[in-house]
Symmetry: C2
Subunit: 219 residues, 2 copies
């Protein structure tokens, strides 16, 4: 078997598949803050046995995407003003940096891909599809961040987004996606112009707006 095809054929372990599935569900708002999750129920729903479910849950707990309560039950964490403040600080220190580092490595083809994600995001806002909005928004940010070649920073960013996902979803549910104007055009323009500082600052603006939305929807 040629080495280049191995990664496609090599079977992913079940616990990894489940981790990815749960991660997406948290990221794109399938769970609401505070929602309890039971191993048994997840095993039934996802068609797996308890062991791989537990491993996936431990990973997500370590990433603060889930929390285990004192009675051993697992739940989606609630958003609080204090947590939001911490996440605000983290996003503003990590993500503009990721964007700045990514900028020099983004190819014209990849900018096209970013614009397609942005078009999808626009479309989602227009038709009011919250989940599609969240997916397109995630895709835009993380295809950019991926190019930073900074896996450790990227991992921190993913953890942050996992913690925001559920709260963002309820915010969109309450106020719709209407209030969310699109900040991403600025970013792609700056990428085309090779203006790396502006890539970073435009992401910063996007974060400020996004977190304001979450903060507002918390009240």
């Amino acid at each position: 078997m040629p080495r280049k095809f191995q990664s496609q054929t090599k079977k992913q372990p079940e616990h990894d598949v489940i981790y990815q599935a749960l991660k997406d569900m948290i990221l794109f708002g399938d769970f609401i803050p505070g929602q309890p999750l039971t191993i048994m129920n997840l095993a039934e729903t996802l068609g797996a046995s308890a062991t791989p479910i537990r491993e996936a849950i431990r990973r997500l707990t370590a990433e603060r995407a889930l929390e285990t309560q004192e009675n051993r039950r697992v739940a989606v964490p609630h958003m609080t003003p204090a947590l939001l403040e911490e996440l605000d600080f983290l996003r503003l220190t990590i993500e503009p940096e990721l964007a700045r580092r990514a900028a020099p490595h983004v190819t014209p083809d990849e900018i096209d891909a970013l614009e397609r994600h942005d078009d999808e995001l626009e479309h989602a806002i227009n038709i009011g599809d919250v989940k599609l909005y969240m997916k397109a928004n995630y895709a835009f940010h993380f295809t950019l961040y991926q190019r930073a070649e900074a896996p450790t920073l990227l991992k921190v960013a993913e953890s942050i987004w996992l913690q925001i996902g559920p709260a963002l979803r309820v915010g969109c549910g309450r106020f719709g996606t209407a209030k969310l104007t699109d900040q991403h055009v600025e970013t792609t323009k700056a990428l085309r112009n090779g203006d790396f500082d502006r890539v970073s600052t435009s992401i910063r603006e996007d974060i400020i707006q996004g977190m304001d939305f979450v903060r507002h929807s918390l009240k």
Copy 2:
């Protein structure tokens, strides 16, 4: 049973105990970079069965303290210049901030405790006890950071330290602890004077020195 004593008596799950044990071993240099770990071997060594070991490993993998290779084996990650650069950036953005946030909440009693950790660190340097040095150093930083009441930032800091632990240990093994001068007196002084900015900047200095040591020992 009175509620206030529950947390002391409530039995910790095995996977949690193992997680803590492995975490300490990584943090204080019991493993060297690149060292492979097998579930079977850990199960035997730690006197447990595979299931809780696997859960602990998944958590530590999520925290980048361990990595699973493409062949499903688990190993302690190697330190690389690129990783060190990322960790440098993260430490410098997260830890001075934790120190600054903690400073106003640290009581005189707690400053005394910090100084005791620092004495122990001095003592460890004098007798050349690497592991004691690492424990005292960790205790100093994290008793301070804990008071920041910023659990999410704290978790990021812990993940960073877990990634540095093994490399720091080999550095100390090669050069001894002699080169590590004690920067912590500055921090405790600033705490006593209520000079919160200087608490933050002195931690910054400490980080720069510590990371220089690791960088130097990489070559």
